[in-house]
Symmetry: C2
Subunit: 385 residues, 2 copies
């Protein structure tokens, strides 16, 4: 049995001290011990969200958080605009449609992000749009939207709601929620937050709470107003995933002790190392346009005649390196290296070596050490500081 290197864009590896929190004795979810953990976790989350807004923790996957971001702020028939750069942008559009919103989309080619000009044009053509939904980091195509440019365009109308899916970025890629006036940010426990899956988190601005007062979409489990009311007492409306909240507190302490900026820096270096290695190999190609290249996941087009899923199986079996396949229209066409959360340069070196050896043994000669060399150069520079 090879050792386990979980290099997918989530769930991500969990540090041992966080895993051990999961094995704690169960406690009363209405008692003071849990109240303390919930309150502390919420305060630490605010630092990672870079917000003074309310942050609410839900027991659900990230998609549950996305649904909460729809049903709490909108009404049937509301016109909304969704940026679709892959499967997760599409998911936001699907949730909006399921709840009867009037959905327009900006559809990006696979590997490209939302162009500021196109967003601006779409909003001019649809001035009645009440909310704009953007994916910060689209894992299916390895694209990071440039929120620092896009958010101010949405906020040219300050009454328009900006909702951001930051499930696979928050904590790894800078998202200054308050500076950018993002009204609703959604994330989840199992990506950059280095915690097992089970929790979604949603930040809610004052403007979003105003929308909430008028919103008529049906909601019960994901009712954020209830969540806010209970949080004031250090509780949740319904039994939360207690163990995951304990783990989350520990993981957030780790991340903030290390420093959020240091976390962003590490992800930049990991992303760059993977991309440069892919280019150095020559036979593999990057799917994402480098203008939008993600620092948490790199989708890779394999050499012609190589089935990416067979390549992944070989790498998983021989080296214990678990990579992700393609999603949606990219299924069977690409493989993806996740480098988010509790991932170190050493993990990436292992992954690059595994890819090199696998391709060598599949007939692509002269690759040994090629990608590793450029990755090492990048890491050597990183470790100088």
């Amino acid at each position: 049995m090879p050792k386990n290197y979980l290099l997918i864009p989530g769930p991500t590896p969990v540090p041992q001290d966080v895993l051990l929190e999961m094995a704690r004795e169960m406690v009363n979810h209405r008692g003071s011990e849990f109240a303390n953990v919930l309150k502390t976790s919420t305060e630490l989350l605010k630092k990672v969200f870079k917000t003074q807004n309310d942050v609410l923790i839900l027991t659900a996957s990230g998609t549950g958080g996305m649904e909460a971001a729809v049903v709490n702020f909108f009404s049937q028939g509301d016109p909304v605009l969704v940026g679709v750069c892959g499967v997760f942008g599409e998911r936001f559009a699907k949730i909006c449609k399921a709840y009867g919103l009037n959905v327009k989309t900006i559809d990006c080619e696979p590997g490209k992000g939302v162009e500021p000009e196109i967003l601006e044009k779409a909003l001019k053509e649809n001035p009645d749009v009440k909310g704009v939904f953007l994916t910060h980091n689209e894992t299916s195509t390895g694209v990071t939207n440039d929120l620092k440019t896009l958010a101010p365009i949405v906020k040219q109308n300050p009454e328009r709601l900006l909702v951001v899916d930051a499930v696979s970025s928050l904590g790894a890629i800078d998202l200054p929620t308050d500076d950018l006036k993002v009204d609703v940010v959604v994330t989840a426990s199992q990506k950059a937050l280095e915690t097992p899956p089970g929790l979604a988190m949603v930040s809610v601005s004052e403007l979003a709470w105003k929308y909430n007062e008028k919103a008529n979409l049906p909601r019960f489990y994901f009712d954020l107003k209830q969540a806010k009311k209970f949080l004031e007492e250090g509780a949740t409306p319904f039994t939360p995933a207690v163990s995951v909240v304990f783990a989350l507190r520990k993981a957030l302490e780790n991340i903030l002790n290390r420093g959020l900026e240091q976390n962003f820096k590490r992800h930049q270096v990991l992303g760059r190392a993977v991309r440069e290695a892919v280019k150095a190999l020559g036979v593999t190609k990057l799917l994402a346009d480098e203008r939008w290249a993600s620092d948490t996941v790199t989708p890779i087009i394999p050499p012609e005649n190589v089935n990416p899923d067979e390549l992944r199986k070989y790498i998983r079996t021989k080296f214990g390196v678990v990579l992700a396949g393609g999603q949606g229209v990219l299924k069977g066409k690409i493989f993806r290296v996740g480098h988010v959360g509790y991932v170190e340069p050493t993990d990436i070196l292992v992954a690059i070596s595994a890819i090199e050896i696998a391709l060598e043994n599949m007939g692509y000669k002269g690759l040994k050490g090629k990608g590793t060399q450029v990755a090492e150069e990048i890491f050597a520079e990183y470790y100088k500081n």
Copy 2:
């Protein structure tokens, strides 16, 4: 620091071998290892549900499962009947109302269950009712509805949907889903299933799937048809609480190895011991009518002049025994002993002693050993076999 005796009706204590499953290394939720765990857990759940129907696992609390049981099978304006014996029956009614169903309720006095005659009359007066919602075990009042009598009344019209909240009973109190033709049963991980919170489970009959085809309520995260489709591939539509699924498999193996009937028997004995002890003390009273007394939780009316929350605090501080307070209209009026899941006679003996000592020290004399004695008699009998 006293040892910890978590005797609330959920989350319940978790055995150490189950806790340690929570601390496992994270795995790919789309890989074969997780597929096996999900499939095995689902098969084991079917045994506990006593059903051949589909059983689907959702990442949510029990309330999320209740919402799934509403939004997947009904349409706006559908007339439904809800049996309300406390906070959780009320919750079903609230969810139905939030989604625009036409809700009628049968309201029980606190401590009483649904009378078969009243159910029969309500259905005769409302023959168009499409679905009946019943709470199997109402934790707020310690009432177990007699489904063996009530289910056939609902099923006098075989096309009527019967939806049962078994969150705090399944695995502890017998619920023969298929024999009783219950269409939808909801439970959660953190009660009798001896697993940390984070998962809800819903069983779905063929009739319920027929309803699903016509149901027009909006849904995305809780879409059970999607969950069924993904389960065929050993997966879930969205990232599940992976660690809790691992824990669930272990806990279900434990329960089924021990024997489901043995589990029911143990809960009967625990429930009877607590009730007889309460009666033996004389100064404490049972809230629930004994005809409906629950084997998973016992709500207790304290002696006059004793604040139940102060009593609980004393007991928690001195003995580490964590009891629950009252909910809803019973807040501040009762305290509740949970005896569900990983709870043994020894735990109950500790709880009864703690109550006796606390009341003695609050001025009620002559209680020492009184409740313990009758509990020991019941347990002595139990251990003969």
